[in-house]
Symmetry: C2
Subunit: 133 residues, 2 copies
């Protein structure tokens, strides 16, 4: 069963390019960090703060592409952890069909924040993430 998570913190580090986001279980206390790049971190940060951009940014474009092609973003899932690297999936609902597209967790989380859809992590990945932390 995937576990629903929320974005708890974004830690912007100006010294090197290892930004950190902390995901926390919605109905519990388990949490773990994911290291992402500065572009993705600032993109997520802008969205969380509700800052409007004058023109659609890259993650807005993805949301627009999905909608104009007749689908909607259902949720995102952090589905795998291999050699300290997380893998995610964007899940799009289109005419009853579920389309899963592989992506990086940073893009997935930026999209979840943009499209206001839930963030899930598989129970297995959550267990491994806690062991790593």
């Amino acid at each position: 069963m995937p576990v629903q998570m929320e974005l708890r913190r974004i830690i912007i580090n100006e010294v090197d390019d290892h930004q950190v986001i902390i995901l926390k279980e919605v109905e519990g206390d388990r949490q773990f960090p994911i290291v992402i790049g500065i572009f993705e971190a600032t993109s997520i940060d802008r969205r969380v703060k509700g800052m409007q951009a004058p023109r659609p940014l890259t993650h807005d474009l993805i949301t627009a592409v999905v909608e104009q092609m007749g689908g909607e973003i259902q949720d995102i899932v952090i589905s795998d952890l291999k050699e300290h690297t997380y893998f995610a999936r964007l899940r799009v609902r289109k005419e009853g069909e579920l389309i899963e597209v592989d992506c990086r967790p940073s893009d997935a989380i930026a999209l979840a924040v943009t499209a206001r859809v839930p963030i899930y992590v598989s129970e297995e990945v959550l267990g491994e993430a806690l062991d790593e932390d």
Copy 2:
């Protein structure tokens, strides 16, 4: 009639965040610059150089979303110039239908380079761009 352009140069400026890409007419000599951000410039630069990323980057994700939803990127068009700002459209072909999605030229050009599709500019915008330059 839109005019087909090619990416002639990417000028990465390490002093401030005004990177420049130069688009040149494919069947002629007209060219003009577009100022973009460093993330977009390095994303385009990586693609032009054929550098592979271990995981799909944001513009690869857009291409994958379009394909998995049953469409294909046909081309991109730089369609407008208002108050020194360019506007573009991503054009997706899906079951014979043409879907146009508004985007920034930097995303459009990164997508054109990723999906290997033509870059067009409207004749009107090209005229105005030459006047500005």
